[in-house]
Amino acid sequence: MANESLAVSPNDVNFFQYRGKHRGLLGWILSTDHKRIGLLYLSAIMVFFLAAMMLGVLMRLEMLTPGETIMKPQTYNSLFTLHGVIMIFLFIIPGVPAVFGNFILPIHIGAKDVAFPRLNLFSWYLYMTGGILAIVSLFVGGGAADTGWTFYVPYSIRSAQNVSMTTLAAFVLGFSTIVTGINFIVTIHRMRAPGMTWFRMPLFVWALYATSWIQVLATPVIGITLALIILERALGIGVFDPALGGDPILYQHMFWIYSHPAVYIMILPAMGVVSEILPTFCRKDIFGYKQIAISSLAIAIIGYLVWGHHMFVSGMSDTGRVVFSLLTFLVAIPTGVKVFNWVATLYKASIKFSAPLYSVLAFIFIFSIGGLTGLVLGTLATDIHVTDTYFVVAHFHYVMFGGMGTIFFATLHYWFPKIFGKMYSEKVAIIGTTFFLIGFNVLYFPMFIMGYMGMPRRYYDYLPQFQGWQILSTVGSWILVSGILIILGNMLYALLKGPKAAMNPWGGTTLEWRVPSPPPVENFDEIPVVTGGPYVHDRPTYIMNPSKELIHHDGDGLKTTEEVRH
């Protein structure tokens, strides 16, 4: 037996077992290990997701009948406001970057951690503060804001509810996002392993890079906008209050200048994971690597130019509307580039079916519906008809939930064995995902129809002709929730009783599949050396223990002992 008082290498155990300066719970909530922080985020995010999901279930129950069903109208308004705030700021935006970005990014680039580990932990504390503030706002004062998550003036200035606390929560959450973004940008610039050029990075890293730039440059705008709401309510500065000369449309501009790029914060990381899952289960290189990488940047940039399409009926000038409609069409182009490259990857591939791939295939279909209906909304003439109806609600749930949400669960399935070192039941995962996909479409597709028929969004009451569709939609919500519970239950079971997972159960080619499941604290014994792209299946492109394998340094090429011998 080893002498118990001897110091040992941190990599002798995996990151769950490692005991550093702190023990037990403290060892987690004071940890600066990016992997533990990723899991801190995961725990919190799941709680908030389930809470917001329940709010959604309650909303759908209320909509089973016209008029009052289970709650008063005021309550309904607060419910959809909080459902939006929690889902957007506490689930969709941080979901992939804060959990999987934190966990996987350093490993993907061959680093031992992110650039600023303590800042990373701080971002989680900011997240928790914002989240708790949002929940608390439900119970104190007049109750949570009832303005919708968009907090439009003048109502957000006039409402007797707890608007200030809810907006403060969103403000704090913005800070968390910014800190994560700064961390990732510097990490990607400065901490790539030797030989990992920009075009040898996994596409997930490219996606996180583009996302981080949006996080850094767009989030402050909503920060100041929300701060101004609070100041307006507290001090009456007049900037947004029409009674004092303020312009409510200017508020909308400021709000959407962030909130449109925000949707790209939501979807780009998810698209990055799609670009990881496909080469793995197609067992071939991704088609159009460079195009997908550049398209992530293009989406990030063009995403800044389109925000006015949320405001077509607000009173904006005609010139403004035409400009924004035109720019909105542009953003579909890089998105199309991605979809075509993904499909081309599938073509003539040796496909291995699995839960993650199942979700990805469904995603391509669902996201396309979401995206195409976005064009309907982006076209001025059609938008007039469907704006502020259930059509919009369906559109954004298709892209955000059907898009990011589907991939969130796909990502969980994909990296579950790596993170937890356990394997879940494939069969149950497929069943759960099937319920999810069926439930999702039964819940949201009728909303396109209702919206087209004229059912307004955020309305508590409705005309009798909508009831059939409303009931169908609510039933869909039950099927969807069953699917989610099956998926999560399956994973929980695997955590407790599942078989151990191998280092590389899927045959992936990126660096996380070359370290143990779960990974050791410092990820690698030695920083690997990179000799090729991330999705090469027929030969290794990483040298995992360079000091043992490399003996000859020759100008710009590091040769292995094998290469030197020949």
Partner: protein, 100 residues
Amino acid sequence: MSEHITTETHAAHEVSYGTYVMVWLGLVALTAVTVTIAGIHLGSVTLVAALTIATIKTILVVTYFMHVKFDNRVIKVFIFVCLLIFITIMVLTFSDLSFR
């Protein structure tokens, strides 16, 4: 045991005291100019002049005081991107405001 220390220091570029003082004198002079122009009541020209002078002052501060002249290209590209986004936001917002 893996006690792993990496150290990446930047090549310290020293700027002389004199250069900084010269920049400061320029900034103070420009301030005097902009205050003077404002006193002449030139209407909207005042605004254009004031913003132009403020921009020149900014360039001086960024280039010398903030050391960007001697920094890596990456920092310069970053700054450019940030400014581009800000200007885009301003311009696109005015695509609405100036036509109402």
